[in-house]
Amino acid sequence: MSEVVLSGVSKAFRKTVAVNDVSLTVPDGAFVVLLGPTGAGKTTTLRLISGLDAPDSGDILIGGRSVLGETPAQRNVAMVFQQYSLYPHMSVRENLAFPLRSPILKTPEAEITRKVGEIAEVLHIAHKLDNKATALSGGEMQRVSIGRALVRDPDIFLMDEPLSSLDAKLRADLRVELKRIQADLGATLLYVTHDQIEAMTMATHVGVLDEGRLVQFGPPREIYENPVSLYVAGRLGLPRINALPADLFPGAPGGAKTIGLRPEHLVQGDGRESRVVRVEHLGDQTRLHLTLDGHDIVTLTDVHSRLAPGDTVAIAPKNPLYFDASGTRIA
């Protein structure tokens, strides 16, 4: 495993700038998650590191060496694609063995058998090894494609939304499994997702991308608690942060245009009266949809709350985040 460094990397496709002057260090053994909406440049960043695309400018270093002139094979990276990644004309076993048989690795047969068996065990696909790759369910396919990366010992694992096509339960299981494997192997991982639970639970570092720019990079808690902008604040947190006019509550600093209130930033029982619109009982939490001066607010309340639509609740901000007109955090 190695450290991976991007310095000032840019990539444009025709006139669309996909990655814009991104500098980023993935420390050895770190689990870095890139967050951002579709089109933010997450996948392009992975493709640039893997060598499938070449950057227009900037440098990419893996383990201290510049890899710009190297082919994907020479870079020793493993990548899990979002979809379509299994070779349909091969069995599951052949798919898993494919990277080990490459001219670069040339693994002995006994070693291949051992590694494939091991990975199949970990990913619970041992009983499907002799199936055709196309005769699997979506979840099994995705586990095989993760397995195809894990059989190797690359400098870095690149994963492009590997869990997005799975159902909720499998996703939760694999999330835990992936984190465990990463910790066991001490693997360096760069992981793309737009699922904030994946980001919060697995990442040692989170990078937030906005239209090709890396707007913030740091540990997940820091990103959550100290976002540099309204955009970053909106990427993490469920229910999403409430972005409201700063003058809705007293105490806004000068220049503040927007107040950002996460559900836990609202204290009930004091302050301004708001009307309950809807109550959502989710089991482990209860969401309260409120309206105040025509602005919708979502917050959490006691699981056994007896509030009903039409009731009024007094709310006041606690440790709110303030942003200026451009969305930059000012307090």
């Binding site: 493993a78 990548m79 694609f81 990644s85 070779y87 990277p99 670069i104 690795l105």
Partner: protein, 312 residues
Amino acid sequence: MSAYSVTEPTPRAKWAAGILVALYALITMIPLLWIIATGFKSPADAISYPPKVVFDPTLEGYVNLFTTRTRQTDEFLAANPPETWYEEIVRQYDMVIVGPSRYGERFMNSIIIGFGSTFLSVFLGTLAAYAFSRFKIPLKDDLLFFVLSTRMMPPIAVAIPIFLMFRSLGLSDTHAGMILLYTAVNLSLAVWLLKGFMDEIPREYEEAALIDGYTRFQAFYKVVLPQATTGIVATAIFCLIFAWNEYAFAVLLTSGNAQTAPPFIPTIIGVGGQDWPAVAAGATLFLLPVLVFTVLLRKHLLRGITFGAVRK
């Protein structure tokens, strides 16, 4: 009244469809069956009117196809009684076999030129189609159009320039020349057909292989090619059928050495009256290689011809 389903045809509809298909198959196969039957008729039966559907089968046509014969005097015939069954057939007409005909040779020429040009077209076509499908090529669309434009006229329209070129390059009446010519004609079809198939294969497969430690060519060979089998087979069949049946260039450019079967078969007619059974026998045997090739690869072909019609 049984349950109604929009996806399952009713038994009556199935029967009607079956009968229609059988009828159509019969109509298209009559000329073929006629040729096959004529090959086993005697010359008299072959031209009798009304045509004979039931007849005494004989191998006369096949014997005549493969041999050259000459008329002999009664004394010679009496002194040399026939030794084999095929000599006996020839003796009915007071003839003796003096040697093999050139049919076997012409047939081999057809095999060499037909399969040789098919292999070359598909090989070059696959590589070109892959390049067109995957790489950024300057003027790609113009090049593709240019490739296609070679099919916008009958190939024979350029017969004279090709004839002159072949003569000055020493390619006239050579196997290599005919293979090159048929490859040139088939290549545009091969490139276009195969490009369609290549476009349907997602790039992610090769990209995964590139990252898995393979070179571009290895990824092409190990991942793309196995998935393009259907397209390659369908293309090969189309190319073979063209090269196999081609007549005009074969007449023009070959005579002694590299002549294929199509220009040879009609020449059988001229020897000692119109020998229809021998012509029919030649045509029947001529069908077999393409038939066998197609039947062997049939399961690929069905999917190949309907490619793109149904999205998986």
